[in-house]
Amino acid sequence: MAMSNSGIPQHWRTMRERYRLLGARCEKCNTNYFPPRNVCPKCRRRGKTTQIEFSGRGKVFSYTVINASSRAFERYMPYIVGLVQLDEGPRVLSQIVDCKPDDLRIGMEVEACFRKIFEQDDGGIISYGFKFRPYDNSWAKDFDGEVL
């Protein structure tokens, strides 16, 4: 399978989007897309897409707990996969971490974090990218400095 034995370029090609949660924005109709698209499906040739970096904030739109995975993810089971609606509009699929399955709710606020996605067998590459965790702003209560 591609995931367990493919070459480096396949992973390298999508690295920037996966590391920084980059999508596309159509300047004509102001629609944001994830994953990035070369062409806006609404405006097609009349549209113009540019890159956009999402804030990483969003809400859980749906979720599941996986108890049977493909081989590359067996060591992480059980793990949570969620569909997250970003504040900027598009939905993103990834794992939800730092959260017990019983505490998960549709509508729960989450934020992107940078984590390991999987490791290839036999000393192959280790892939990193965004996952989501419950949004926690409790630190702000005692913080009187300026948020830069």
Partner: protein, 379 residues
């Protein structure tokens, strides 16, 4: 038309399965192999399941028809349905008279984890499977959302499985022929919450074959040709990310609308239905998206046996994908074979829908990026 048994068939390879279904189809149609002008075969991933690409020419060769043009069609789990549309177009265009539409998949030579990885190629690899999503997981995301929006309970999902296992018990070629209870379904292990083992179809080996011809040609071979009233296909985003509504398969809605328009029939005319129940939730979504009930109301069809043989709208009379089995590239054709059996009155063991005149088959690829709807009638 004909199918092999669906199941874990360790002693049969890809060629054996395709050949067996082909022989059954040719014998049932009373045609000679040399009458066949074109072969279309659905196959999702011979390359990854058994290391074999170029499947259609291989199949043609082992059917003893090695100069007959043969093409493989791939649309994930809708490969069979898509092959059926290609064969239909080949006949309708007037280019060929006698065309084979088949499908085959040999899935059980690999382990469960590898099969899961191969099947996850039917979604967006880079932005879904890459992050750990499996096939049951993406349908679980749909199921969870549907529960949230429409208040669906797990016991309705269990009722779908119980019904399909009951129909499977009447089908000697089904992968699972055991009946189950709602309690068994509800206490089976969780695969991807809220979907349990009995919400998921199996990974099967199998093949199916049909033969298409213009009606006047078909009448030379049989007194009971089944008429293809419409075949329609539609596409949608490959991933769930771009779907506004997780509780509907837009490709199904589009393909069904087009098929019913073309056939000049209404939903009420349909006597028997085969839908793509790769997961129990998918059967509920399908009945709504095909227009047999309103969105959010499919659970209402599972209270009093309406979807059983003998009910108002018998669904998946061969056990569907859930119990009948899901050999991905063959499934779309297997559905056509079951509808044809029903319309000819040839379904045995108490699963014949009495007086079935019009039937519908609904085949889905991935999470709904491809949908094919075919409507057939007895005259």
């Amino acid at each position: 038309m004909g199918t092999t048994e669906f199941g874990e068939l360790w002693d049969k390879g890809l060629k054996d399965l395709a050949w067996e279904a082909g022989v059954k189809a040719v014998e049932a149609a009373g045609i000679g192999g040399k009458d066949i002008e074109y072969i279309v075969f659905g196959n999702m991933s011979g390359g990854l399941f058994v290391g074999q690409e170029h499947v259609a020419a291989l199949v043609a060769d082992f059917m003893g028809l090695n100069s007959t043009p043969a093409t493989r069609v791939e649309a994930a789990c809708a490969s069979g349905g898509a092959a059926f549309l290609q064969a239909y177009m080949a006949v309708a265009s007037g280019m060929y008279d006698i065309v084979v539409a088949g499908g085959v998949e040999k899935m059980t030579d690999v382990g469960a984890g590898q099969a899961a990885a191969i099947l996850s190629g039917a979604m967006d690899y880079e932005w879904e499977a890459y992050f750990g999503a499996t096939f049951p997981a993406v349908y679980a995301l749909m199921a969870r959302r549907y529960m949230h929006e429409y208040g669906l309970k797990s016991d309705t999902l269990a009722k779908v499985a119980v019904k399909n296992h009951y129909h499977g018990s009447l089908n000697p070629l089904a992968h699972f022929r055991n009946r189950i209870t709602e309690d068994e379904a509800l206490s089976s292990p969780m695969v991807a919450d809220p979907l349990r083992r009995y919400d998921c179809c199996p990974v099967s080996d199998g093949a199916a074959c049909t033969i298409l011809a213009p009606l006047d040609v078909a009448r030379k071979y049989t007194d009971t040709p089944i008429v293809i009233r419409a075949v329609a296909q539609a596409s949608d985003t490959l991933s769930l990310l771009g779907r506004e509504d997780l509780c509907t398969l837009r490709a199904t809605v589009k393909a069904a609308g087009k098929a019913f328009d073309e056939a000049k029939l209404s939903r009420k005319d349909v006597d028997v239905v085969e839908v793509h129940d790769c997961f129990t939730i998918a059967e509920l979504l399908a009945l709504e998206d095909l227009g047999f009930c309103k969105k959010g109301e499919a659970a209402g069809l599972y209270g009093e046996g309406q979807t059983y043989v003998g009910g108002e709208l018998p669904v998946n009379t061969d056990g569907g994908l859930k119990a009948g089995g899901h050999a991905v590239g063959a499934t779309g054709i297997k559905q056509i074979v079951e509808v044809t059996r029903q319309l000819r009155g040839e379904a045995k063991n108490g699963r014949q829908v009495e007086g079935a005149e019009i039937g519908l088959a609904h085949n889905v690829g991935g999470t709904g990026a491809t949908a094919v709807v075919a409507i057939l009638s007895r005259r």
